[in-house]
């Protein structure tokens, strides 16, 4: 049972780190402000949630129910805070006149 839990936890952590890494690569590769936000704001949500799910499995198996509850709360707050923050940044950029990149434009 120990090894099953460890394997599950590790799998979730690796998947989460993969998505965080994808977000970072997207930040470097994508051409402009809006598309970069797509990469960081989104991939990070799933990445962090997967990492926290891994932690939840581990702490639940080791008998720490309150830590599991706290992690669950963090996940819920994340799902509320992340889209709100992303939306606020994008809206601010749009209002101050950052032009969206189109196919064929120069990288910025």
């Amino acid at each position: 049972m120990d090894s099953v839990v460890n394997a599950l936890t590790t799998a979730f952590l690796i998947l989460g780190v993969f998505f965080m890494l994808t977000g970072a690569i997207g930040l470097l590769r994508f051409p402009d402000f809006y598309t970069r936000l797509h990469a960081t704001g989104k991939c990070d949500t799933l990445g962090e949630v997967l990492i926290l799910l891994g932690c939840m499995i581990y702490t639940a198996y080791h008998g720490m129910p309150f830590v599991v509850f706290k992690l669950l709360c963090i996940i819920i707050f994340f799902f509320i805070a992340n889209p709100t923050g992303t939306h606020a940044i994008v809206r601010a950029a749009y209002k101050t006149g950052v032009k969206p990149w189109r196919v064929g434009d120069e990288r910025r």
Binding site: L46, F69, I80, T84, V90
Partner: protein, 172 residues
Amino acid sequence: MKRSVSAVVTFVIMYVFWLLISACLWAHHGIDYIRVVGGIICAGIVTAFSHKHRLLFTGEEENVLIKTMRFMLYAPWLLWQIALANFDVAYRVLHPEMPINPQVIEFDTTLTGDISRTTLANSITLTPGTITIEVKGSRFRVHAIADKPAEALTVDQTMQKKVAHVFMEKMP
């Protein structure tokens, strides 16, 4: 009458949340009284400040139970969509030619309530490939990273129908 009920419910929700977060009733050395009493004081102060604004029981809710249950069913579907769409964005990031076609699209929603519009806007931002830029009345302005997520919003409208179902609003 309703205002006091609202205050009591606010207090109970906050205090139970505090008990669960601080775990002070189940500490190693028995009950942690300082935290138990401190929680009562803090929950009381927050209730005193906030119950005037009537966060709960504003008188606008109808069928709250059904809506909550439907939202519980909507959340897993949204999580699954987020996971699917995240793979899509990861594919676009890692593909050597970067198959993206960013565009700003506008569409009108048929949703009328504030909460349902907020839910739709946040759901759009959560699903990778689309970000809500602006909501003005029923007009949504959305930045999409490629054609597929843009069409999912304007042509399919699956998400909008689901949200309308959750908040019991009519679709044309």
